[in-house]
Amino acid sequence: MIKKVLVANRGEIAIRIIRSCREMGILTVAVYSESDRTSMHVRNADEAWFIGPSPSSESYLNIEKIIDTAKRSGADAIHPGYGFLSENAKFSQRCSDEGIIFIGPSPFAISNMGDKITARKHMIAAGVPVVPGTTEAIKSEEEALETIRQIGLPVMIKASAGGGGKGMRLVKDEANILGSIRAARSEAQTAFGDDAVYIEKYIESPHHIEFQILADKHGNTIHLFERECSVQRRHQKVIEETPSTIMTPEVREEMGKHAVAAAKAVNYYGAGTIEFIVDDNLNYFFLEMNTRLQVEHPITERVVGVDLVKEQINIANGEKLKLKQEELSQFGHAIECRIYAEDPHQNFMPSPGKIKHITEPLGLGVRHDGYVYEGYEIPIYYDPMISKLIVWAKTRNEAIARMKRALYAYKITGIKTSIPFLAKIMECDDFIKGNYNTHFIENNQDFLLQRQPCGKRCQDMALIAAYIHYKNKLDNASHGANGDSEKNAWKEFGRKKAVSRF
């Protein structure tokens, strides 16, 4: 039985894992880099161990250091979260070699699913539909040309070791085939140290739909239905929802069965996600498997009613799944918005900095998973995601209304965030109608980047507040007093007058 978990991560996911551990009575060990001494996960965990300099490669990705810390702290298990070492087969193997439980799948499952070409082969063998294309890394440019002629244009050229949009090229014209192959290989070489690429049929107006699966070490595998993840910007998910608006019960059941078959094909255990690409006619094809917890796992937790981190820990403990496929169902609708520290109006440039003030949205149907606090300085070294806003409602329309309400009420000052951009998505016709695919943001760019018109009245109020604030500061400065305490004087004065005026 796991008694102490080292959480090999930071940010909101580290805190989310610590919460479930605490509910299970399991002790937690945080690890932190130089710039994370004041991070919330360090404050929240039972223990905190320093693991190295700020760049991830020297801390959160440092396998030796993390294994060493697990041993020294007496942790009997490691939860990798997402990102960092979560899909590193070597790390999973090292844990196993050292007698530490890795809360995640076997090295075999990670490495087989990690390589796209190998994964494709497994899927074909398991009868899971894959996008028409090569099953081997292409050896020569002639072979590539031949394959493309068979599949027919348009095609995608993808890095075998790829991810995150790197080493990918869309080819629509015959004239660009060779150039694109060469570019993709060179990019793949730079990004992943491996120039293997493969070719797939390009699906026009695709939907990105994924299935959550859970599998124990006793051969029981179930799925927890789909997540619609088509709202993407540069191949990064922005908003996810479940159920998908385009899904039918029949297709859901069939895709669920294929998702389970995909996991079984690599003797998978743990929590995992099978990503599918789906066309407008609900033809679906295996895209890849994420052999870890997803950022967007909370929407599944909400509509299915499970705690996926607890399920992961139970599986790692060797327990049998208590959930039965036939007893699971989706209740209501959940949407997740990822809140990034970035400026949508400056080409989504990251916006690290110091949090001055937060007003968190709360109330019925709202879950907020974050990690920043007032006075916290977001480091420049890591992912710009600062929190996730998850809402649930009985219907999709109500969920959208609730998300709007929550986004408007959510104020983080000191940095720029994607909140206004996300609010515009909630107001966008295509999104409201559920009529969208992965081109949604591109297609609606003008609308989404429009600033909310407000008119003179609202501007005037902003001007007046700025005037009073500035004047007050000047007045205080001229009285030689410190700004803060005098601001309170203004407030107190105001209050007392307010009381006496009636």
């Binding site: 000052t413 109020m461 902003a462 001007l463 007046i464 005037y467 209050r495």
Partner: protein
């Protein structure tokens, strides 16, 4: 005290006419408002105007003259135009362009500085690359220039809006 304040592209004259506690009379351009205004949290004002409730958050940016102002649905950039600002604005555009300071609007880490002091660079050349949160940004010169000063070095952690390189 009358102040010129810039909000987005509009510049307005604002003047406090009267104050009794949190009941104020204030003029914005030619319009007079009677308001109930109170600071409820540090930098957060609750304003009632004809019983309409506005919750306005002010966040100071680089100095006490620059704010980001949030209302329920909007976010504005606001600048107080005082004497110093006017002086700066008064100088000819040429003059300002002559002293070119390269800076990054976001904090980050200097990845690469391809030139050294004295180097001649061409319009469009990247003079510094800054990385923050897994994203690299390149900063270029818009005209042919000479590198006059390099104030940071590769690997340095920098603040937003800090001058990194001066060109002529």
């Amino acid at each position: 005290m009358s102040l010129e304040i810039k909000i987005d592209d509009r510049t307005a004259k604002v003047k406090l006419l009267k104050q009794e506690g949190n009941i104020i009379k204030v003029e914005v351009d030619d319009r007079i408002y009677d308001l109930d205004l109170i600071m409820v949290e540090n930098g957060v004002y609750s304003i009632l105007y004809n019983n309409i409730s506005y919750n306005v958050e002010l966040i100071e940016k680089k100095d006490h003259r620059h704010f980001n102002v949030n209302t329920l649905y909007n976010s504005y950039d606001v600048e107080i135009i005082d004497a110093e600002t006017k002086y700066r604005m008064g100088r000819s555009k040429e003059e300002i362009e002559d002293i070119r300071k390269i800076f990054s609007p976001m904090p980050g880490k200097v990845v690469r500085i391809p030139y050294k002091v004295g180097d001649h660079v061409k319009a469009g050349d990247t003079v510094i690359i800054v990385s923050a949160m897994k994203m690299e940004s390149e900063y270029k010169v818009k005209k042919d220039r000479v590198i006059k000063q390099i104030l940071v070095k590769e690997g340095d952690t920098i603040d937003g809006n800090q001058t990194l390189i001066v060109v002529e």
